[in-house]
Symmetry: C2
């Protein structure tokens, strides 16, 4: 199996991406195609690496570039070039830590969507008190319609069952209360559709406060809301840990406090760290695309490649496609 990796994506590219890819070919029984500035990439391949292929890409798309324009004008950048290789079947999946917007735009233009999918979703695993829950959409789409939310539920269920091995994934709708009549118009309508679907184990509304209890395997929301949720977790987590450090430092002498609290804080941060979970996946695109965090180090890239392999080895992609076609009849009003 061959995995295509965007060597230029993310804050630590290409060094950490190349090192993560080297680690992957060493341990995972796969080949990697690195797409990017060949000269820069080769600097970090210091010993022979027969399972690594380098494909030169003359340009890079930055995080601050308007995605659609960038995909259209920088045809030789690493993201669109890698995607064309994927489309041509020269790899089974693609991994990138680059711009989410450019990945989505490239995905739509180059890979295309599954039949009936207006909006692909981005899904990620979020830790809870029990096992991590799959949250989608986390930022691809604002103003989701009920049919989008229902498709997210279908795709999340298939993914949870086929890749994470959850037999009957319990699906929740992220909402501001547990009652059926709570929430925005789109969420209320989606609730009505979801409770009638026999292939979905719908558990009703999931309150943001209860999310971390881990009673849902899949939690579905509009991309604006999911993005706010994740970034709130990120921002508040860092704020809270800082407050705690200050508090401990104030109470004990600095050195004792730091000594005692630092390893605990570090361990908790590591447990929250999404590099552990390999990254986020685009669901609904006609191709396997894994997005690693922009600040990914070699370990996160390695885990992203591992996830891509797992995805490509299963037939979840075809099952997603089929589940979406099966549901289509229930979505047309």
């Amino acid at each position: 199996m061959k995995i295509i990796v965007d060597a230029m994506g993310g804050d630590n590219a290409p060094e950490e991406v190349v090192l993560g890819a080297l680690e992957a070919v060493k341990n995972l029984d796969l080949d990697v195609v690195l797409v990017g500035n060949e000269e820069k990439i080769r600097r970090y391949i210091t010993t022979p690496a027969p399972k690594i292929e380098v494909v030169n890409a003359a340009e890079v798309i930055g995080n601050d570039e308007p995605p659609v324009a960038a995909i259209r004008t920088k045809k030789d950048a690493s993201i669109p070039k890698g995607m064309r290789l994927l489309k041509e079947g020269q790899g089974s999946a693609m991994v990138s830590a680059g711009s989410t917007g450019a990945l989505m735009a490239g995905g739509l233009f180059i890979l295309g969507r599954f039949e009936g999918v207006e909006r692909p979703a981005i899904a990620t695993l979020v830790p809870t008190r029990k096992k991590p829950a799959l949250l989608l959409d986390i930022g691809a789409n604002s103003d989701s319609k009920p049919r989008n939310l229902v498709q997210f539920a279908v795709m999340g269920s298939v993914y949870s069952r086929e890749i994470l091995g959850v037999e009957k994934p319990r699906v929740g709708l992220l909402n501001i209360g547990v009652e059926e009549e709570k929430g925005s118009n789109a969420v209320k309508t989606a609730y009505g559709i979801l409770k009638g679907l026999k292939d979905i184990n719908f558990g009703g509304n999931a309150e943001a406060r209860d999310f971390f209890d881990g009673d849902f395997d899949v939690v579905v929301c509009d991309g604006f809301v999911g993005n706010i949720f994740l970034k709130t977790v990120e921002g508040f987590g860092s704020f809270l840990l800082d407050q705690l450090k200050t508090e401990v430092k104030g109470k004990l002498t600095y050195s004792i406090g730091a000594l005692l609290i630092k390893p605990a804080l570090k361990a908790v941060k590591a447990r929250m760290d999404y590099s552990e979970y390999g990254g986020a996946m685009f669901l609904g695109l006609d191709g396997i695309l894994i997005k690693c965090h922009g600040s990914s180090d070699r370990k996160a890239i390695f885990n992203g490649i591992k996830m891509a392999k797992q995805f490509a080895e299963s037939d979840v992609h075809l099952k997603l496609k089929k589940a979406l076609i099966d549901i289509e009849g229930e979505l047309s009003p």
Copy 2:
């Protein structure tokens, strides 16, 4: 000055509410009208309290009752009864730890809205690395339109200036990116209006991740989004502190770990605790209404009464009304 207090609202009513009110008349130079089950209320008034008046209310509206129906059918419940007293001018403001939905429904039916306000907002203070930021709306309205978001910005600005003493409150729009073209359709349109308003110190988009840096005095969002934000903070905060406790217990012996970490955790929790901030306020209703958290103890009730007094003493209510009328011309397309 007389403050009307719903004695039956919240998990600890009427005991903690009555005790909070007794504390308030003792320390704050005001009178309190307690509305609720007179017999139960009087049990907690054990010494003469000439500054407390009790008005009997035969019913109570529970948190799980459909708000509109409850307000319509239980006319003698403490919430509608208190509001009628407020409307009649028998008090300057009302405080309740009861059902948010019932308070909003009662507010709309009994107190009425300011001219041009389709949707009153609920605002609350949220701690940050600098001073607390005013967040609104936190749950009164889903599917906010651009004009609602702009009104929230106007009301938040007036409140921040007049009550919190911030000279030129910096207003942010809660969003998934800092760029103007990011976000939902409503947010993008609101951005366009806000940047053209000369009376608002608009600072652009506020990312959820950066919220806690405290660079905004007022942060505006749809009620669904604000509620998700606050409940994520609540749920994730408790999860994170639990994780940390477990980590510390695992690394040190239980007793040493608990000894060292507990006071720090408690202090941080206290700093996050919104009983400190007195409660949330309804902005856009034609009457001063303060909502305390459902789990309020006497201190939270005391702070809610204090906030109500401060609100009533200022002329912020009239300034809010005027600011909304001033803005109306900019909102009509």
